[in-house]
């Protein structure tokens, strides 16, 4: 079944990835990550001094705060923060700096117009990962890359865009932890949900599709950390 997507992209192709290392003042690491126009900004500080109440004697405390584009953080942000925290924790080595705090603040830079905003969640996870890598002071054992997948009946598409999100029948975000290179990817989190029922086969198919797209995210992140792509994309982001 043929499906024409905006910008003429393939069903397994994400929008152009944009990563900018902002260098925010007063934090240890920060990054902006965008799938096309869906952009999130993350900043990381740590290991820093922890409040006595949140102190953990054997691990560092990992705190995730999400700020929506408008209004103050409410239940939705808190719930999202908890899921993103859960997705990132397996890739962090928290035992190396006990009794400290690692604080991750994610600022959404795109509005959530529709019910499903999995692309934004994926951008948030990727922005957090790049910010953690940029900080360089937090030990990690993997790199988490996330991609959203949606179903526009009956076609599965990677990284649904804004107008596609409005007509999705099913969607979800898939986060993969990359250990030793590209081939060592492990799905650490997903929230695949559907208006109708879905079966295991479909979920496996989504996972396959997402993992291929997550690999391109990983490669992009590797380029940025290596210092190749950041500069040229900075101009691009300014003009848009």
């Amino acid at each position: 079944m043929a499906l024409t997507r905006r910008g003429g992209r393939e069903i397994d192709e994400s929008r152009p990835l944009k990563v900018v290392l902002d260098g925010l003042a007063r934090v240890d690491g920060s990054a902006r990550f965008g799938f096309g126009d869906t952009v999130a900004l993350a900043s990381v500080s740590g290991p820093i001094e922890v409040r006595l109440a949140a102190e953990n004697p054997s691990l560092s405390t990992f705190e995730v705060l999400i700020r929506p584009l408008s209004n103050v953080p409410a239940t939705q942000s808190k719930s999202l923060a908890a899921t993103i925290r859960a997705a990132l924790i397996p890739s962090l080595i928290l035992s190396q700096n006990p009794r400290t705090l690692i604080q991750l603040v994610i600022q959404s830079l795109s509005p959530t117009r529709t019910k499903s905003y999995d692309t934004l969640v994926a951008a948030m996870i990727n922005a957090s990962t790049v910010a953690l890598l940029n900080a360089g002071s937090i030990p990690m054992k993997g790199v988490v890359c996330a991609v959203a997948v949606g179903r526009i009946n009956p076609v599965l598409v990677v990284d649904p865009g804004e107008e596609e999100e409005a007509v999705l029948e099913a969607s979800g975000c898939f986060a993969f932890s990359f250990g030793d290179g590209l081939d060592d990817a492990r799905c650490v989190w997903t929230n695949w949900k559907s208006a109708r029922s879905f079966d295991e086969r479909e979920l496996a198919q989504c996972k396959l599709l997402a993992s291929a797209a997550a690999k391109s995210v990983w490669l992009h992140i590797q380029n940025v950390v290596g210092g190749d792509a950041s500069e040229e994309e900075e101009d691009e982001m300014e003009t848009s």
């Binding site: 820093i48 001094e49 006990p98 890598l133 360089g136 030990p139 030793d180």
Partner: protein
């Protein structure tokens, strides 16, 4: 020179292998002979000439104390016999009042809150607060450590500090050729500088900020130009 991301395996092998910052030997599964060594941060993988010491070189802003490193701290509190010192790490370090050259029970240095000290990390353990000392424990001589009087403290990235410690780096010899200056470099992202004239101190601070890989990474020619503009 190779880029590694966290989780990537590192093929480091040597009979007397030492792993530096950014590398971790995982427990691995029993089936494989050697437990894999993974990188725990993104950066450039480096090793010494004979391959016995490996580490990952990267830049960061947050200092995590390690034993025997020279740091610059700010006294934040007097605590009984000693002082609490902010060295930029998660926990404040403690500096004993007797850990100075020539200090005795009767004659202890009287450091005020807010004064700067150049000290060595004598104890760094993840479960304990770091401890500092301002003398060599064997010789009991200060070896340049102690209170830093006057001058100015510049903050920079950790990679910048390490570069300044390298005697082959161009910046300090270049500045030293123009006017006399004093520096104390802490690897915790703090550099103390002093010169006769305030203009010169400002010039040094500007140069360090400009050369910092986090804030421009200016090269030798650029610095020569900057100094000319500053009239130094």
């Amino acid at each position: 020179m190779s880029l590694v991301l966290p989780g990537q395996h590192v093929a480091a092998q040597h009979v007397n292998l030492k792993l530096g910052p950014g590398l971790l030997q995982t427990s691995g599964d029993a089936s494989t002979s050697a437990p894999p060594i993974i990188a725990t941060r993104a950066g450039t993988l480096k090793h010494n000439a004979n391959g016995s010491k490996w580490w990952v070189e990267n830049n960061s802003l947050r200092y995590v104390p390690a034993a025997q490193e020279s740091v610059i701290g700010v006294i934040i509190q007097k605590a009984g016999e000693g002082f609490r010192v902010d060295i930029g790490s998660a926990q404040a370090a403690s500096l004993d009042g007797l850990a100075f050259e020539g200090a005795t029970k009767r004659n202890k240095p009287n450091l005020k809150i807010g004064s700067l000290v150049y000290a060595r990390v004598s104890l760094a353990h993840k479960d304990m607060e770091p401890e500092l000392e301002c003398f060599d424990a064997q010789t009991r001589k200060s070896e340049g450590f102690g209170e830093l009087k006057g001058g100015f403290m510049v903050r920079c990235s950790l990679a910048m500090c390490r570069q300044l410690l390298d005697s082959k780096h161009f910046l300090l010899p270049m500045l030293g050729a123009r006017f006399p200056l004093e520096t104390a470099i802490g690897v915790n992202g703090r550099v103390w500088v002093n010169a006769k004239d305030v203009r010169e101190v400002i010039g040094i601070a500007r140069c360090i900020e400009a050369v910092d890989p986090n804030g421009g990474g200016m090269d030798e020619a650029g610095i020569a130009n900057l100094l000319r503009n500053l009239g130094l």
